[in-house]
């Protein structure tokens, strides 16, 4: 009798869904399980109920439309993102769902929902504090003493990253083999906290997420400063595990499974940080040497990403470059290849 009671409905699939912080990316309430269900009944998976996913621009930002309905967050707020690239990526996530909606694959959507709803109600300082807390037990700073090959591997792989971070921010981080972890000087902490404070709230959600996945502040800084790729950062975070896999063998259904999951989450977090923390404007570089530049800086508030040349602007530039003395109203028909001479930055 006890065996049939322990059998799970729908197999064990739903145990492996890991909602982040109790948050699911699904719209609306989950359908209730029927009354005669067992003690544990996982929620039924939502089927894909829409055909088309499209993006529209509202007054607060870009919105996602599933068929004709607007996408909403779990707390029923309207889902708006400041950046078009982020909106396109989220729409692609929703569009890639087949048959059932697997919310555990939609990392960007989940991050946007967390930023919009802020269910734990954390303000900027709390997010910075949560991220900086990892500095005391940073993965790349905690070293082993034996076996010798692992010690050397850690030294060869992790020391350059720490050196880069120390040079980049002008701080001392160091590493330690003691059980208490590295001792981070207060000045280091101040410098890094003030650096984090220059990001807006959305980007900080992403940063805190990446730090908690990689278990390392230094690796996250390397990732957001474009020093490390996602694959490299994940490998460095899992260095000891990679060492043991090399020695004892790889178990695909555990090691590879976790590796791909970690890569997906880290990539989503890193992309989210970059897309939420940049603003760019297009300035045409004219051959007279007048002016140039693509000011890519960090805004205090999220701004739209507009890397595109408007079609009109391109035509205008061609006129200026190729015929400075000619009346701009003069119609010039130029082959496409002439655009190569134009410096666009």
């Amino acid at each position: 009798m006890w065996r049939s009671c322990l059998r799970l409905r729908g197999g064990g699939r739903h145990l492996l869904n890991c909602p982040r912080g109790g948050l699911t990316a699904s719209r609306g309430p989950v359908p209730k399980p029927p009354a005669h269900a067992r003690a544990y009944a996982p929620p039924a998976e939502r089927k894909r109920f829409y055909q088309n996913v499209s993006i529209t621009q509202g007054e607060a930002g870009f919105e996602i439309n599933l068929d004709h309905r607007k996408l909403r967050t779990p707390q029923a707020k309207l889902f708006t993102v400041p950046s078009e690239a982020l909106a396109v990526a989220v729409a692609t996530e929703w569009d890639s769902q087949q048959d059932t909606i697997k919310t555990y694959t939609m990392h960007l959507t989940t991050l946007c929902n967390t930023s919009l709803d802020n269910p734990t109600q954390r303000d900027k300082d709390q997010l910075i504090w949560a991220a900086a807390k990892f500095l005391d037990t940073d993965t790349v700073c905690c070293r082993v003493e034996e076996p010798e090959t692992l010690v050397e591997l850690q030294r060869n792989e992790w020391d350059p990253v720490i050196g880069w971070a120390e040079r980049r921010y002008g701080v001392k981080i160091g590493s330690s083999t003691s059980i208490m972890g590295p001792s981070i000087p207060a000045r280091t902490r101040e410098v890094l906290v003030s650096h984090l404070a220059s990001y807006n709230t959305w980007a900080l959600q992403g940063i805190e997420f990446v730090v908690s996945q990689l278990k390392s502040m230094v690796l996250t800084l390397g990732l957001i400063d474009l020093h490390l790729t996602v694959e490299q950062a994940v490998l460095l975070s899992r260095l000891e595990e990679a060492f043991q896999i090399q020695k004892w063998g790889n178990v695909e259904w555990a090691h590879d499974y976790e590796l791909q999951d970690l890569r997906a989450r880290t990539a989503a977090g890193a992309l989210f940080v970059h897309l939420c923390s940049e603003s760019s404007a297009v300035k045409h570089k004219l051959p007279q040497g007048a002016d140039s530049g693509w000011p890519v800086g960090r805004d205090p508030e999220p701004a739209f990403l507009t890397p595109f040349l408007p079609a009109l602007g391109r035509a205008h530039l061609v006129h200026q470059v190729c015929a400075p003395g000619v009346d701009p109203g003069h119609q010039l028909v130029l082959p496409i290849v002439d655009l190569q001479e134009v410096d666009v930055m």
Binding site: D95, V230, Q232, W253, D261, F308, D343
Partner: protein
């Protein structure tokens, strides 16, 4: 240590991932918003005279990150389907593993509804 590789490789990888994503829906991937956006972004950043163009590097980094995201999600779901997606065996199958068969009880077991 930014071993990004060549932009062409990233671009090809992105196209492949978009193709996989749209294979099931049947719609050609060239009509998706993601494809159009990527084409515009890559074209806009292609022409520059600077040897070390920061914006170009940033775009390539973001593209490589997005490629990593799509690729790892696809492989994670494939691994999940293959190893963790089957659920538990039924009681009949488990009994069959050790060569036993469940008894047939035409009246049903006493405790089942």
């Amino acid at each position: 240590m930014a071993a990004l590789g060549s932009p062409l490789r990233t671009w090809r990888g992105l196209l492949r991932e978009l193709r996989y994503l749209n294979a099931a829906t049947g719609r050609p991937y060239r009509h998706t918003a993601a494809y159009r956006y990527l084409v515009k972004a890559f074209r806009a950043h292609r022409v520059t005279s600077e040897k070390l163009c920061r914006a170009q590097h940033e775009l390539h980094f973001q593209a490589a990150t997005y490629l990593c995201l799509l690729r790892s999600i696809r492989e994670h779901v494939a691994l999940h389907q293959e190893f963790h997606g089957k659920g538990e065996r039924s009681v009949e199958e488990s009994a069959g593993l050790v060569g036993l068969k469940l008894p047939q009880q035409p009246g049903g077991k006493g405790w089942e509804p």
